[in-house]
C-alpha cells in the first residue's frame, strides 16, 4: 500500500477543514481538465493526483466491463493506487457510502461512483456529487450527460440471457421462450427489482418484447405480468443472480448485461460453457454514469481517474470488456477501435435506448407494481 506523502496528509486536513471544492471547466469550453488552480493543465492534475496517491472507488467488480484491466492500466500509467470498496455493491449503496462518510474523509469514503443512469439526477439533487468535465467532454452524447457536468455516461450494453450450457440444453432465443417448461426453476434476475437498475430494466424489457408499440406504462405492466407468469410456471428463481450463481448452476439462465455474460464465459473457460444470447425482441440498452463525490477525500485523483476513463486508452478498455464505450461513435469513425474488438460487441440494432424520463417512469411502475403483481421477494444475499 502506497505510503502517504506528508503533503497529501496536509492536503487532506486542509480539504476537510475547507469543505469540498467544486471545480468546473467554464461551460462552453472544450473541457480542459479543471483543477483547483486557475488554469490547470494535465501535468498539474497528474502531479496533484499523485500527491494524493490513491483514488477510492466503489462497486467496481473486476470482471465488469474489464474494470480489472482499467485499474491495471491506470495504476501502470500513474503513481496512483486504486482502493476498491465493496465490489459487489449497487448504485444505491454507492450513494449511501458517500453520505455516510461525509464527515469521515478516510479510506471508507468513495471518491468516484459508477451508477445507473436513473441515479444521477437524484444524486445531484441530494448534493452528493460535484461537477467535472473531462477533456473529451464534447464527444459524450448530449443525452448521456448532465449539462452542468455533474454526471456523465461512461459505457452501455444490452440485456442478454446468460446461459449455463451444462444445465440448459437449448438456449432461449427470446423473452417468450423463457416461459417454456424446459426452463423450470432456471431463470433469474441479476438484482432485486425494487432497487437494482439492471433488474428493473429486465422487467421493462420483457414488457417491451410483448408490447413493442405500447406506452411506457403499458410496457412496464406487461413486463410485470410476464414475470408473474414466469413465477407461476415455476421457472423463476427468486435470487439475485450473478456470474457466480450461473457458474455453479444455481441460476442457469440469468438476465444480465451482455458484457457480464461474455466476461464470465471467458473466466470460467468452459467449465461450464456459457452462452450469451441477446433476445430477438425487447432489446434493452442500459447505461451507467460516472460522478465524483462532493466529499471526495482525493478530488484530484478522482479527476485523473475520470480523465483516464474517458481517454482513448480507457474507453478502449471498456470495449475490450464487451461494453460500448460512450465515445464509441466518434472513436469508431476515427478508427481508434480495432476490428476484432468491434466484432465482439453485440448489435444494438433495434435496441431501445431509454431517455431519463422514460427510465424514471418505468422504474416507478416496476418498483410499485412488483410486490402487488408478482409478489415474490428476490433474495439479494451475496451468496444466494
Amino acid at each position: 500500500m502506497k505510503k502517504y506523502a506528508v503533503g497529501a496528509v496536509l492536503a487532506l486536513i486542509v480539504g476537510a477543514c475547507g469543505g469540498s471544492s467544486t471545480t468546473t471547466a467554464a461551460p462552453g469550453t472544450t473541457g480542459a481538465p479543471g483543477t483547483t488552480g486557475a488554469s490547470g493543465s494535465m501535468d498539474d492534475l497528474i502531479a496533484a493526483a499523485e500527491g494524493e496517491g490513491v483514488v477510492t472507488t466503489i462497486a467496481l467488480p473486476l470482471d465488469w466491463c474489464n474494470y480489472g484491466g482499467m485499474i491495471e492500466g491506470f495504476e501502470a500509467k500513474y503513481n496512483v493506487d486504486e482502493n476498491g470498496l465493496d465490489r459487489g455493491g449497487g448504485s444505491a449503496e454507492e450513494l449511501e457510502a458517500i453520505s455516510a462518510n461525509k464527515d469521515n474523509p478516510g479510506p471508507a469514503a468513495p471518491d468516484v461512483v459508477d451508477i445507473g443512469l436513473a441515479f444521477g439526477p437524484q444524486a445531484k439533487a441530494d448534493g452528493l456529487i460535484q461537477p467535472y468535465m473531462v477533456a473529451t467532454w464534447d464527444e459524450i452524447p448530449e443525452s448521456a450527460k448532465d449539462a452542468e457536468g455533474y454526471w456523465y455516461g461512461d459505457y452501455y450494453g444490452v440485456l442478454a440471457f446468460e446461459v449455463n450450457k451444462t444445465e440448459v440444453a437449448t438456449s432461449p432465443a427470446d423473452w417468450a421462450d423463457l416461459l417454456k417448461a424446459d426452463y423450470n426453476g432456471q431463470v433469474a434476475l441479476s438484482g432485486d427489482p425494487l432497487t437494482s437498475n439492471a433488474a428493473i430494466l429486465s422487467v421493462w424489457a420483457a414488457g417491451v418484447s410483448a408490447m413493442p408499440d405500447g406506452t411506457v406504462q403499458e410496457q412496464a405492466e406487461a413486463g410485470l405480468d410476464f414475470f408473474k407468469q414466469l413465477n407461476d410456471a415455476g421457472n423463476f428463481v427468486p435470487i439475485d443472480g450473478d456470474s457466480r450463481t450461473v457458474g455453479i448452476g444455481e441460476t442457469p439462465i440469468l438476465i444480465d448485461y451482455n458484457y457480464n455474460s461474455k466476461a464470465n464465459a471467458i473466466a470460467l473457460a468452459g467449465n461450464p460453457e456459457i452462452d450469451t444470447v441477446v433476445p430477438a425482441s425487447g432489446i434493452m440498452a442500459g447505461m451507467y454514469t460516472q460522478a465524483i463525490s462532493a466529499y471526495a477525500p482525493h478530488p484530484n485523483a478522482a479527476k485523473l481517474w475520470e480523465e483516464y476513463l474517458y481517454s482513448d486508452e480507457g474507453q478502449l478498455k471498456y470495449a475490450e470488456g464487451f461494453c460500448y464505450p460512450i465515445r464509441y461513435d466518434t472513436m469508431l469513425a476515427d478508427g481508434k477501435i480495432p476490428a476484432e474488438v468491434v466484432a465482439e460487441l453485440p448489435s444494438t440494432e433495434g435496441a431501445l435506448f431509454p431517455t431519463l424520463a422514460e427510465l424514471e417512469e418505468a422504474k416507478g411502475y416496476v418498483v410499485a407494481g412488483w410486490p402487488q403483481v408478482v409478489g415474490v421477494t428476490v433474495d439479494t444475499s451475496p451468496s444466494g
Binding site: 500500500m1 505510503k3 502517504y4 496528509v9 487532506l12 486536513i13 476537510a16 490513491v54 467488480p61 473486476l62 470482471d63 482502493n83 470498496l85 465490489r87 459487489g88 464527515d103 469521515n104 474523509p105 478516510g106 479510506p107 471508507a108 450473478d242 456470474s243 457466480r244 457458474g247 455453479i248 470460467l268 468452459g270 467449465n271 461450464p272 477525500p297 451475496p382 451468496s383
Partner: protein, 280 residues
C-alpha cells in the same frame, strides 16, 4: 441435598440395578451413537467443501482451485497484512498484559476483579458495536485516526490487541498462579534486579507457554477477522475472503479448506504446548 437423596434410595434397587459391566456397554454404545451423529454433522461440510475444491476443471479432480487461489494477485498481500496485524497485536497485547497481570498479582490484588472485568469487555461489546464506536470516536478532532488507511490500520491493530485481552490475561494469570511469583520476585530483588529486569529475565521465561497459547488464540481470532476490518476499509484477509466468496465459483472452497487448516494448525500447537507435564 445430595446426601438426602442418596439415603432415601430404596435398598431393593440394589438387586435390580444392572451389573456394572452391562451398564458400561450400554453407555459406550450410546456414546458412540452420539459421537457418530455429531461427527457426521461436523465433518460433512468439510468433506463437501473439499470435494468442491477439487472440481475446478471440467470432468477431473485437480488442485487447480488452490493454484488459482494462491496465484490471485490479491491473496498474498491480504494474507500478509493480516499476518503483520496479528503479530503487532500480539506483541502489543503481551507488552500491556504481562506487566499488568504481574503488578496486580504482586502489588495490587484488590484491583484484580476490576482488571478481570475489563478484560471481559470484548465479550460484552460485539465487534460491530466496537467498530461503530471506534469510527465515531476517532473520526473527529482531537483524535483523528480514520482519515487515512495507515492510521485506520493502527486503530485496527489496537482494537485487535484489546480483543485479545481476555485470552492473554487468562493465560498469563494462569501462568503466574503456577509459579511462586512473590518468592521469585523477592529473590531477584535481593540480588539487586530492577523491575524491567525482573520482568524480562525472571517472569517472562516462566510464562512462555502461557504467552504462546494466548498468542496462538489471538492469531486465530485476528487472521480471519471480518467485521472490524470491513468497516475500517482495511485490505486484510477477512474482507478478501468475503469478496472471494461473492465473486468466484471454485476458489472459495479452496479458501475455506486453507482457512480451516490454518486454524487447525494454531489450535493443534496450543494443545501440544499446553499438554500436562509428566512431573506432578
Amino acid at each position: 441435598m445430595v446426601a438426602v437423596t442418596i439415603s432415601t434410595a430404596p435398598i431393593q434397587a440394589a438387586a435390580e440395578a444392572p451389573a456394572p459391566v452391562e451398564l458400561q456397554k450400554k453407555n459406550r454404545l450410546g456414546a458412540w451413537i452420539v459421537f457418530g451423529l455429531v461427527a457426521i454433522y461436523f465433518l460433512l461440510p468439510l468433506a463437501a467443501t473439499f470435494w468442491w475444491s477439487l472440481r475446478a476443471l471440467k470432468d477431473q479432480y485437480t488442485l487447480e482451485a488452490y493454484r488459482r487461489l494462491f496465484a490471485d494477485s490479491n491473496f498474498l498481500p491480504a494474507f500478509t497484512q493480516s499476518l503483520v496485524n496479528a503479530a503487532v497485536a500480539i506483541l502489543l497485547s503481551l507488552l500491556i498484559i504481562m506487566p499488568t497481570a504481574y503488578w496486580v498479582t504482586l502489588r495490587m490484588p484488590r484491583l484484580r476483579p476490576v482488571i478481570e472485568f475489563i478484560t471481559l469487555l470484548p465479550f460484552v461489546i460485539p465487534g460491530v458495536v466496537l467498530v461503530f464506536g471506534l469510527i465515531r470516536l476517532y473520526s473527529r478532532p482531537p483524535l483523528v485516526l480514520t482519515h487515512t488507511y495507515d492510521s485506520s490500520r493502527i486503530l485496527l491493530v489496537c482494537a485487535y490487541a484489546a480483543l485479545s485481552f481476555p485470552y492473554m490475561y487468562r493465560a498469563v494469570d494462569n501462568g503466574l498462579r503456577a509459579m511462586d511469583v512473590r518468592s521469585l520476585t523477592e529473590a531477584a530483588q535481593s540480588l539487586g534486579a530492577s523491575w524491567p529486569t525482573i520482568l524480562r529475565r525472571v517472569i517472562f521465561p516462566n510464562l512462555r507457554v502461557a504467552l504462546l497459547s494466548g498468542a496462538l488464540l489471538t492469531f486465530a481470532i485476528v487472521i480471519g477477522e471480518l467485521t472490524i476490518a470491513l468497516f475500517l476499509a482495511q485490505k486484510t484477509f477477512g474482507p478478501y475472503m468475503a469478496e472471494l466468496t461473492r465473486s468466484k465459483v471454485y476458489e472459495p472452497s479452496a479458501m475455506a479448506i486453507v482457512a480451516f487448516a490454518i486454524t487447525w494448525a494454531a489450535m493443534g500447537m496450543i494443545a501440544l504446548i499446553t499438554r500436562p507435564r509428566k512431573e506432578k
